[in-house]
């Protein structure tokens, strides 16, 4: 779940949690879990910002290889 979470999904979930806490609609018992989750999301985003997406690199590389093949003369 964490790996496929998009930035948008992350920030929307984060916003929802922050709003809940700011509006004090969070149950005190749930507070720890919420804060934990929000912290996790922030950390995840920050990590992703500084991480090279090797998956994308690989995909783009594959396209390149296909191109080369198709360019070969019959």
């Amino acid at each position: 779940m964490a790996k496929n979470l998009s930035y948008r999904e992350a920030i929307e979930e984060l916003e929802a949690i922050v709003q809940e806490i700011e509006n004090e609609t969070v149950d005190v018992d749930a507070l720890t879990e919420k804060v934990k989750r929000a912290t996790f999301l922030i950390k995840l985003c920050k990590k992703k910002l500084r991480e090279t997406d090797n998956e994308v690199k690989k995909i783009l590389k594959e396209f390149e290889e296909k191109e080369e093949v198709s360019e070969e003369p019959f």
């Binding site: 920030i11 910002l49 994308v56």
Partner: protein, 452 residues
């Protein structure tokens, strides 16, 4: 018979004729079909209606003039003297015996070209607008985090280097995943090459966040090819935002017009991307802060509640303690007084008791003595009384002895009883009754024979 001339002689004749016929300069408009700079600048000029060429001539700008002319032109129009543009120039008609007829350009009016370019650009933009393509790419929402970038440029171009250096060395340590879509960025084949690169970008767009078009940079400031309908169309149909980094200080190309964002330099493009990333990070940081403060506030509120509860509790407990302490202290004080009082009393009592002891001892002794005396007195008086009584009893005995029936019986009297009862009258006695007569020394039982 006509004179026979050598070619050289003929050309000299033409040359002098031309010089005589056209001594003044002409102002001419034409399109540049070809331009070569080999020390001097050699231009092929054409005059077209639609796509049909109706006139052609070669022209030359001497190197001595070319530098100034081309720089002024570039300065004014933002583009190089290049194939495809229309120019208005001042030239002599010049015939050289060896090189033939040429226009010797001595001045170029850039304002004409500017107008021509503007007209061409306006036409393209009008067409794009008509087809609903002009704002198509602009309407795409820019991604929250533009991290995967497709770059249309030339790998050898200084602009591409600038872009990559800036992206890779950004101060925040953001990582971009970039792929270069190689294209020729200037000259005749630029348009087709850029369109092809953009088509590849389109194909890969599901894995990309944004496309960047950056120009070679450096001194090659040929913007001409970016006023292209075909490139603009390819950008318009791109499903992800396109950023143009081909901008020029003064002019806005068609590509700039249709792109989602435009920047003046490749470095500025990098800054846009980095700023977007930073913006995203800032927004999550600010959410982090809000989270922190919100959570803290929540906890503080709860703490506050507890604290005030505890305070109240403290206060009430404190009051209780104070009251109880006071009570206890008062009690202890009271107790202490009581003890003191009791001790005093005890001392007093002991004193009293001691006194009493001494006193009562003396008293008892005295009493004893009195009692002893008293008893002696009583004893004596009793003994006296007894003696007196003895005497009285003696005299009474004497009297009683006188009255005793035995003493009377002794003197001859007797007592007659009938059935145990003393008989005092003869009438109580009947003939034949049994009577008992008591005498001094015994009894006589007799029967009555007669009465007197």
């Amino acid at each position: 018979m006509k004179e026979i001339l050598s070619l050289y002689e003929l050309n000299l004749l033409i040359r002098s004729t031309v010089e005589v016929a056209f001594p003044e300069t002409f102002f001419v408009t034409a399109e540049i079909a070809k331009i070569d700079i080999k020390n001097h600048c050699y231009i092929d000029l054409v005059d077209k209606i639609e796509e049909t060429i109706r006139a052609e001539m070669k022209a030359i700008i001497w190197s001595s003039r070319y530098r100034a002319l081309s720089e002024d032109f570039k300065e004014a129009t933002g583009i190089e003297l290049t194939k495809g543009i229309k120019i208005l120039f001042e030239a002599y008609i010049n015939f050289h015996e060896r090189y033939g007829l040429k226009l010797n350009i001595i001045n170029i009016d850039p304002s004409y070209t500017i107008g021509e370019l503007a007209i061409k650009r306006r036409e393209i933009l009008r067409r794009l607008e008509r087809e609903g393509l002009k704002d198509r790419n602009k309407s795409i929402e820019f991604p929250l985090v533009p991290q995967r970038i497709g770059i249309v440029s030339s790998g050898r171009a200084a602009g591409y280097e600038d872009l990559m250096t800036h992206l890779m060395n950004n101060p925040y340590g953001y990582k971009f995943t970039c792929r270069l879509y190689e294209a020729i960025m200037q000259g005749d084949s630029a348009e087709a090459s850029i369109v092809e690169a953009l088509n590849l970008c389109h194909r890969d767009s599901p894995h990309l966040d944004a496309i960047v078009i950056v120009r070679g940079g450096g001194s090659q400031t040929d913007l001409h090819c970016f006023d292209s309908y075909e490139i603009a169309r390819a950008i318009a149909f791109m499903p992800i935002p396109v950023i143009s980094g081909i901008g020029h200080e003064r002019d806005i190309t068609v590509v700039d017009e249709v792109a989602n964002l435009r920047a003046k330099t490749p470095t500025a493009v990098a800054d846009i991307l980095i700023t977007k990333m930073k913006g995203f990070e800032d927004s999550i940081d600010s959410m982090g802060n809000r989270l922190f403060h919100g959570a803290n506030k929540l906890i503080a509120d709860i703490k506050g509640e507890f604290t005030s509860l505890i305070k109240n509790l403290d206060a009430s407990i404190g009051r209780e303690i104070i009251i109880n302490t006071q009570r206890i202290n008062a009690f202890i004080r009271g107790l202490r007084y009581s003890i003191k009082f009791l001790q005093a009393r005890k001392r007093l009592i002991i004193q009293e008791a001691t006194k009493l002891k001494i006193l009562s001892f003396n008293e008892i002794k005295g009493e004893e003595r009195i009692l002893t005396d008293f008893f002696f007195g009583i004893k004596n008086s009793i003994q006296r009384q007894i003696k007196m009584e003895d005497k009285r009893i003696k005299s009474r005995e004497d009297n009683i002895n006188h009255l005793n029936p035995r003493n009377i019986l002794k003197r001859g009297y007797s007592i007659t009883r009938k059935s145990g009862r003393v008989v005092k009258s003869v009438s109580e006695i009947h003939l034949n009754d049994t009577i008992e007569t008591t005498l001094y020394d015994g009894e006589i039982i007799s029967s009555v024979k007669g009465k007197g």
